[in-house]
Symmetry: C2
Subunit: 255 residues, 2 copies
């Protein structure tokens, strides 16, 4: 676990300058072909699983990223779960209860659009829990993710890092751009003012919930093409490391 | 509801003779683009939903069809559920209990790979329930599907109609073809002998669970390219009929 607090302000929100958009998109296309084959092997092997945890501030582009990276992979082996405001039933349980129900069984690749981390992010920005409770939850989260890993799940955590300026621009477009108006929600103006508050609580997460065995990846997110490429690449590398294999046969064959 | 029993033996298992494979695959590609846009509108509209029920005998190609038709659609709005042998907990409830939990909420497109129909198919072939119980279940199924439709769900039921010869060939390939051996399961030889038994119980389903408002579509399934085209076309037509719309905005915008 890193000993010092990462400083989000200092981390890139854009692609490295030497990267060309068109070439990167071609590379993304190639990586997606690899992902299709690797997921097929993961599913056929039916022994291990993958959980991609996506976090990011409002308008960091989580929905678009899911479409760009995971479209084309066999949907039978992929499941996306979007965590919304908890229901009364969910709130009547511990904060990991509803999350635990959605973790991937053997062979599956699950994607969390938001996750258990909201319980140490929005809850803090909204002043619903004190810092001590957040720190108790960090411990619980680390233990939970370790449990999943020990059961054969590769956990890939990606933070879509959008700059304050880009976020403001995108939230404004929801009002001014006819094609984006349906995304507008009451409170979007308020969200645009909360970037610094979210920065603080995210930094606390990266300090306390990023053990070497399960680190956070900070993905520059001001450009949609780059973040899709980056997340696809991270997922490809994780799957290559797992190296799933087609089983020779499911049960014994006749002689 | 049709008054006479449909005779599966008389229904085509191959594409019409005037259809060319290459041209049909090009058309499938075009239809998939339409599906991507229509699903996006369904999701944004967030008012209605779609349930695709896929049934077919073993080796009729359900898994491959799901990959061919639904890959490429935004996975955030699509969920595939494969119904396997029921667990003890599931068996401790009525047969629709586990199925009801997986129906699509507003905005979503769900695909059932096998479904509640197994409870009036394999159960009968295996001699687990008498004909009277099957007929009680037909009534329950019709009421259940009507409930879903009244809640805004379009239910599209497709039977992948594979011929006895083609099924035998495919099951044999699981033994002889190295790339398909992992699909082999004990009992595949037995399955190849059960085509006539399944034919009888499927015909009973088509007679009793195919009201005009929720008919079964019998899809010729001996050729993978044709069945994918046919199911994609049926789904496209269903979505066009629903004509989902992007909402102008989610909540009230500032003036």
């Amino acid at each position: 676990m890193p000993r010092s607090t990462p400083d989000l302000i200092k981390l890139a929100t854009r692609a490295p300058g030497n990267l060309h958009k068109e070439a990167t998109l071609r590379e993304l296309k190639r990586i997606k072909q690899e992902l299709i084959e690797l997921q097929d092997r993961l599913y056929a092997e039916n022994r291990r699983s993958v959980l991609v945890v996506l976090q990011g501030m409002d308008a960091s582009g989580k929905d678009g990223l899911i479409r760009r990276v995971f479209s084309g992979i066999n949907p039978q082996g992929v499941r996306v779960h979007s965590f919304k405001e908890p229901t009364k039933l969910e709130l009547a349980h511990d904060f990991l209860w509803r999350v635990h129900q959605q973790v991937p069984p053997r062979g599956m690749l699950h994607v969390f659009n938001r996750s258990h981390y909201e319980d140490v992010l929005i809850t803090r920005v909204a002043g619903l829990i004190p810092a001590e409770e957040a720190h108790r939850r960090f411990t619980a989260i680390n233990a939970f993710e370790k449990l999943l890993q020990q059961a054969g799940t590769t956990v890939l955590k990606c933070y879509l890092h959008v700059s304050e300026e880009e976020q403001r621009k995108r939230l404004e477009e929801r009002v001014t751009d006819a094609a984006k108006q349906w995304k507008y929600e009451a409170g979007d103006e308020e969200k645009a003012r909360q970037w610094p508050a979210y920065r603080t609580v995210y930094e606390d997460v990266f300090e306390h919930c990023s053990p070497a065995s399960c680190p956070w990846h900070i993905v520059p997110a001001d450009q949609n093409w780059y973040k899709a490429y980056e997340v696809a690449r991270l997922l490809r590398d994780a799957l290559v490391a797992m190296n799933p294999q087609y089983p020779s046969n499911k049960t014994e064959r006749p002689k």
